[in-house]
């Protein structure tokens, strides 16, 4: 299973950023790629790498990239 910093690199790819860009503190609203398609892509990554099924409604509460990682919870190794 991918560790937190490896998963952040996957999110860099999702948001079309150079690898190593995201720290987790970024506001989603500031990321150009954030939207309904990014939600689906994130759900796919969570399913593929952690076997976690994320209900779409939970994304409404996410403000930062760290909030997205928190959705995966304790399945995401540090």
């Amino acid at each position: 299973m991918k560790k937190r910093n490896e998963f952040l690199c996957l999110l860099d790819e999702l948001f079309e950023l150079p690898p190593g860009s995201l720290t987790g503190q970024e506001a989603l609203a500031d990321l150009e790629g954030w939207g309904s398609m990014a939600v689906v892509s994130f759900m796919a990554l969570a399913d593929e790498h952690y076997g976690v099924a994320l209900p779409p409604r939970q994304f409404g509460n996410c403000v930062t990239v760290n909030d997205l990682l928190a959705l995966i919870g304790d399945k995401l190794p540090a």
Partner: protein, 340 residues
Amino acid sequence: MKAVIRAVEYYLPEAPLSTRQLATEFPEWSVEKIDQQTGISLRHIAAPEECASDLAVAAAEKLFASGVARPSEVDYLLLCTQSPDYWLPTTACLLQDRLGLSQRTGALDFNLGSSGYVYGLGLAQGLIESGQARCVLLLTADTYSKFIHPADKSTRTIFGDAASATLLTGVEEAAPHLGPFVYGTDGSGAPNLIVPAGGARHARTPDSAVPHTDASGNVRSRDNLFMDGAEIFSFVLRVVPAAVGELLAESGRTPEDIDLYVFHQANRYILEHLRKRLKIPAEKFVLKISECGNTGSSSIPMALAHAAQQGQLRPGNLAMLVGFGPGYSWGATLVRWGPL
């Protein structure tokens, strides 16, 4: 008596809607981005005066022209559509007349989306193997384009219009060619893939026709098709792998026994994700969406016909069909493909 598929044909209306055209209408989305998300470069759109039933007639006529059967041999007509000509009478009754079928034909519409073909095969098998019918014509036909708002890129990039025609008859054999069948329904998902107004629950009014812009910049009114992509994705991830597992268990088969997996062709992204999740090799997985888009209940029969034409599906092969769509509704079955 065991039901067997004798022929599958399909029809695509002429007017093309390319991704290139859509990219000019939605300048914030490039051709590459649309293609990356959907895997679709072309959809076919029914003409303004062209109904789903017209597409169904064209598909059926193609099937009869192949010589597999004469219209007079059909004694049961099933039409899967969510775009009927009228509230009433039944569109299948109109098709009986237009296709010149015998008046001793049973005919009915059933209203399902992309799960519809699996359900249609189940109904046809039941009719034939219970002795109620000898020759079933199963048609699928939809014009989702007519429900879609032109400024709604979430749906306009995805859906295409089409129809299919499948002929099933009975053979005196011991082993079934179709089944088992796995069915599922979750009505709590209804609001996530819906045309809200125009039915009995909410009539069309001047107010229902007022377009609104959503948070993603897509425009639609309550008369238009609405699809919550994230909710649909969540639904598909939840039910499809489970249905595949259930079907394998019920049939006593392993994944390796399946020669070809034919899933509803929703969009390439979701299909690729399912393929990887289920560890299905690419050569056993049908992807036929780039030239037609998501055609609802026609997607599986079109994919079957295409795979057979390309030699990807051969006589004796065992195919797994999995449909999933509005309702929510889903279904899965096995088909032993015979010489057509």
